[in-house]
Each structure stands twice: as C-alpha cells, then as structure tokens.
C-alpha cells in the first residue's frame, strides 16, 4: 500500500517570534524549524501501518522551501521511504485551500491509498488542510484520530469528541488526521540517519493556486495584566473566593 504522510515545518519554540516590517508576517530572521508536533505522529503512524501490513511505501510530502529537506530527512531517518518537497518559497503565506490543492495533485500522482496528516499545524492552528484535501480528492475523512487499524481496502478509526469516543469504519482511500496519543514518534537512530542519506528526496516545482484568504495584518497578543496579591494565609481565602466568583467568574 502506498501511504502519504503530509507534513509541515513550523518555527521551534526556542526563539520568540516577532512581527516583520510588513506588519503581516513573522520575521524569519533567526527562526529555527522543526516538524509540527502532530505531523510527527502522522509519520510515525504511517510507518507503523506499513510495518504492520508487512510492506508498502511511505512518502512524506510537504509544501515548502528547499530547506525543508532537513525536516524530511528526519522523517526518512525514522522509517519513511521517500520525501517530496513541492517547492513554494512563499509557503509561509500560502492559504489552506491552495496548500490542499497542491497536496491533492501530488497524492494523486503518487497513487496513494491512505493519507495521514497532523490534526493541525502548530504554527497557524487552522486544522483545515486535512479535511480540504479529503474533499478535493473525494475520499473518506476521519479527523482527530486516536486509534487506527488498516486492512486491505478498509479501516477502523477512533476519534475523541466532546461526546465521547466515536468509532468509524471507512473504505480506502481515505485521509486521516492524527491526534495526540495515536502513536509515539520514535527517536531517529544514527543508523537511520545514515540510511536516510540513500533514500530519494524529490523536489518538484509547483505553480500554486492563488490564495483565497490572505493575512492583512498581524498583531501580538495583548500583554497580560499584572497579577494582584489578595492577601496572605487563611485570612485571604474569603477574598479569593469572592474574586474568583465575582471578578473572574470562574467558580
């Protein structure tokens, strides 16, 4: 079975991001990148599905700059077989639909039967690309999956919702978005890193569709107001309860 894991590089949390001079993007200066948290789960799950089926091919696919090779090589070191970068130097401002269209074209070209993606990318927090991709492909889609089993032609997925745990059956091909707990990403071992060097990493030039939604301005979140000490010791309990009930309205 051909499996595609869709991944995105996001800034690491090491550097506090600042707004660029244009007022609508993040200043890329000094930013370091890593794979988005949920995408790591998608890659791990893809590799586990392949291992369980005893064969197949896992392709990691991203829309991004050439530099994404570092993050993709990491996926190859952790067991994926092939990497594909759909080169888009304007990747940071690309909207969800345009991204999903580019991914859909490549997923079709790969002849994949199963697509795994993170439930959300930790930079933009849209949680939209996975479902859009499924819609464009006309495939089954289960989001926020915490348990997955795949057999020939079909699968079972569990997802957590406000109502409890839902269990779905679906026919392949399908797009699954991965929630925390689905799989525990493995460490890249040094032998895996060496093996990754020999695995194919393709760069494909694309002509992305125009954005339908674009960022017009970016503002930092308002500074948190200073804290207030209500009192000390047990004497302060009554005042604290009063403040929580009537000011903060949390109890």
């Amino acid at each position: 079975m051909k499996i595609v894991a869709c991944v995105k590089r996001v800034p690491t949390t090491e550097v506090q991001p600042t707004i660029a001079a244009d007022g609508k993007s993040v200043d890329a200066n000094g930013l370091q990148y890593m794979l988005s948290f949920y995408d790591e789960i998608a890659v791990e799950q893809a590799v586990q599905v392949k291992e369980k089926l005893g064969g197949g091919e896992v392709t990691v696919l991203t829309v991004g700059p050439k530099d994404s090779s570092k993050e993709l090589r990491e996926c190859l070191a952790k067991g994926a077989d092939k990497g594909v970068i759909l080169i888009d130097e304007n990747w940071t401002s690309r909207d969800c639909l345009s991204t999903a269209k580019a991914l859909a074209a490549q997923v079709t070209a790969e002849g994949a039967e199963l697509v795994l993606a993170g439930r959300v990318a930790t930079d933009r927090d849209n949680a939209a690309v996975g479902p859009m991709l499924a819609t464009l492909l006309g495939w089954a889609c289960v989001t926020d999956v915490i348990e997955l089993s795949i057999e020939a032609g079909k699968g079972v997925a569990k997802r957590e919702s406000d109502a409890g745990v839902e269990e779905y059956e679906f026919a392949l091909p399908a797009v699954i978005t991965c929630q925390k707990g689905l799989a525990e990403p493995r460490y890249a071992g040094l032998k895996g890193i060496m093996a990754a060097k020999k695995k194919p990493l393709e760069e494909i030039a694309i002509d992305p569709a125009a954005n339908q939604a674009s960022v017009v301005s970016l503002a930092e979140p308002p500074a948190r107001p200073a804290g207030r000490i209500i009192g000390e010791g047990t004497d302060a309990v009554a005042a604290l309860i009063d403040a929580l009930r009537n000011e903060a309205k949390v109890i």
Binding site: S69, R73, G189, K191, G192
Partner: protein
C-alpha cells in the same frame, strides 16, 4: 526545566552538514528527554543508569564511526564529536561511558584486533549486549603509563597475566576488558572476557566527581589467557596512546557540551533572578562573566570543529588533540566554577546542572592526560625538547 539552547554566537551551525545536524539533534533530544530527568538521582546514589544501555545502543552511539559490517553506523568524526558534545551536555559520566565503549574498547579491537576478535566483540559492543573497559592506569603509573607493572608471561601457548589497574571506568560492569601489560618484547594489549578465573574488578567508591560513572580496580591474579586473546597488531605503548587520542578527541567536543549546559543554565538564571530590584544579568560583574564564558565556548567550538574536519581529512595529529583537550576542558571547568558561583546557593544544589558539571570536570581535567601533561606535550611539539621526563 527550560528547554536547552546551545550558544551559537558565530553561526557555526552553518558549518555542519544536514546529516551532522540531524545526528546532533537526535542525541540532544534523547539526552533531554531520557537522560536529564534521571541524572540527579543517579549522581547522588553514585550509580550509572545502566537501564539506558539498550536505548543508547538503539540510538547508535556505541562506536558510531565503526563500519556497518561490524555493527557501527559508519559516521564521520565530526558527527562523533557532536555525539560526545550532546552526551556530555547531559553528564560527563554519560560521555565517559560512551567514550570508553567506543574509543577505548571498540577502536582498539577494530584497529589492532584479529578478525576473530572483531567478529566476536564488535557487534556485541555496538548493540550494548556487552560492555567494555580499558585498563591502562595503575596505582603507580598514571601520567607515565610506560612504567606499568602489570605483566604477561608466556606459558606454552598461553599467557599468564598478573597486576593491578586503577581508576578504570566501567570496570565492575564490564563483560570484556582491554588490558595493557608488559611482556618480554614490550607492551601488548589483551582483549579478555571478565569472567576468567583470577580476574576481579572491585568498584572504587566515595568519589565526589563523575559519580554517575562506575570506576573500578582491575585485579589480575595468574589470569591464564590463550594467545588468541592477545590483540595481534599491538606492538608498543604507541597502541594504547592511539586509543587515547581517539577518546581525547571526543572529550574536546564533550567539554564544550558541559560548558554550554552551564552557560545556558546560568544565562537563564541571571536573567530571571532579581536582586536589588533588577535582574542579576543587568549588573556589570555578571555580564563580564557571561561575556567571558560565551567567548571561551565559541573559541572552543571553533577548535573542536577544525580538529574534527582535519580528522575526517586524515590530517589530525596527536599534538593537535593535546591542544584541544587541554583548552576545552580547562575552559569548561572554569566556566562551571564561575557558573556555580553565579547561581548562589542554588549552585551547590543537584537540582541544577552546573554544580554537577563542575565536580565532573575535575575528573575530566585529570583523565585522558592531565592538563599539565598536555601542556608539556604541546611544549614538546613546539620545541622538540621533552620536558616531562
């Protein structure tokens, strides 16, 4: 604990290949997630977390530069340096464990051993199924290993080994020992299983440095070994010294990891610690110390990187390693001592990394050639006049 950030003042990260950075980051992540949470208790108890051995093997840090056919990963020397740097960012005891296994046990077997010895031991050592130790130092022969008393005498086709080794890392927990001994024809190395009759390895206790590392005596009383356990390509003291060159190379990188751990902790602490209404980092004396630390770390990084590139090009000489080990351990120790002070009382608490690094680096300053011995080795290189004898 805050996420670890290494200092990269001169953008040296640009000088590493993608693969080298991946190796570094893999070991860094493992150290942060799996090792750092355990180290305080192990240090306090005076134990090494042997439960992590299978994970270290899985990660691939045992003899990573050994070719794949013998169980290694076939990495270059810069990658090996980065591995040491990241492990020693965790603890010098962890780096010591890995240095001994790779540079002092797997390397001599690979470089001087018979094909049979390589096939028997290298895959087991790479996979962590066997642990090794390196016995050179003796009670009366440290800086002058040529003065060793341990000896091997021919007895028919066998050898009979007698003697005592001291300060041997991993000794008590080893399955195989590389033992250096005098013979009629000069110094030879033996690769022996530690369960032979007459061999014992009592642990040396009560250390206040490198506590999360096992240190042992090796006692050899009429240990009979077949000639097949002699490493055939060993001919003189040059051989153990070649092993030490490998290990010292790793230490030159490792010390920078320890220094960076201290710097990261102290920088974060002084920025947050408020004294007399402003952060400690806002005063000139702490800033002078931070500036000095950052400069020394950066120079140490450049020294290690150039040394690594030369090693990969086959141009590294032992005299270059003398300089890098001497300098980098020295600056790391000074940084740890200064950092310890800057943390105030917290500096003596094992809840912080700095005090532990400071204690550890005292051992690193002494082992693998003391600071002064490296000074004299550089002096010898420059003048051609040996001053150490």
């Amino acid at each position: 604990m805050a996420e670890y950030r290494h200092l990269d003042y001169m953008l040296l990260d640009e000088k590493f290949s993608e693969e080298e950075l991946m190796v570094r980051d893999a070991v860094r992540t493992w150290t942060s997630e799996r090792f750092i949470p355990l180290i305080m208790d192990h240090f306090e108890a005076g134990t090494f977390p042997t439960e992590l051995t299978p994970e270290l093997a899985e990660l691939g840090v045992f003899g990573p530069t050994i070719p794949e056919e013998y169980g290694g990963a076939g990495l270059n020397s810069v990658s090996y340096g980065l591995i040491c740097q990241e492990l020693e960012r965790g603890d010098s005891g962890l780096r010591s464990f890995v240095s001994v296994q790779g540079s002092l046990v797997m390397y001599p077997i690979y470089a001087f051993g018979s094909e049979e010895q390589k096939r028997e031991w290298l895959p087991q050592l790479a996979s962590g199924k066997a642990i090794g130790c390196f016995g050179l130092t003796e009670p009366d022969a440290g800086s002058n290993p040529g003065g060793m008393l341990t000896n091997a005498k021919r007895d028919g086709g066998d050898w009979i080994l007698n003697g005592r080794k001291m300060w041997i890392t991993n000794g008590t927990i080893s399955d195989v020992a590389i033992v250096w001994a005098q013979t009629e024809d000069g110094i030879r190395g033996f690769c022996i299983p530690t369960n032979l009759p007459g061999f014992s390895a009592p642990e040396q206790k009560h250390k206040w440095s490198l506590r999360a590392s096992i240190t042992s005596e090796l006692v050899l009383e009429d240990v009979r070994v077949p000639d097949s356990m002699r490493m055939p390509e060993t001919t003189s003291l040059r051989n153990p010294l070649m092993c030490l060159t490998q290990a010292r190379y790793g230490i030159a990188w490792g010390a920078i990891g320890a220094a960076n751990s201290v710097f990261d902790e102290v920088l974060g602490y002084t920025k947050e610690r408020i004294v007399f209404d402003k952060p400690l980092a806002g005063y000139q004396i702490p800033q002078a110390k931070l500036a000095e630390m950052a400069t020394q770390i950066t120079m140490g990084q450049m020294l290690a990187l150039q040394l690594g590139r030369l090693k990969d090009e086959g141009k590294m000489t032992p005299a270059m390693v003398n300089m890098a080990k001497r300098n980098n351990v020295h600056v790391a120790l000074n940084i740890a001592r200064t950092g310890r002070d800057m943390l105030g009382a917290n500096g003596i608490s094992l809840e912080y990394q700095t005090g532990r690094h400071m204690c550890n680096l005292e051992s690193v300053y002494t082992y693998e050639g003391t600071h002064d011995i490296h000074t004299l080795a550089i002096g010898n290189e420059l003048t051609g006049i040996p001053a150490f004898r």
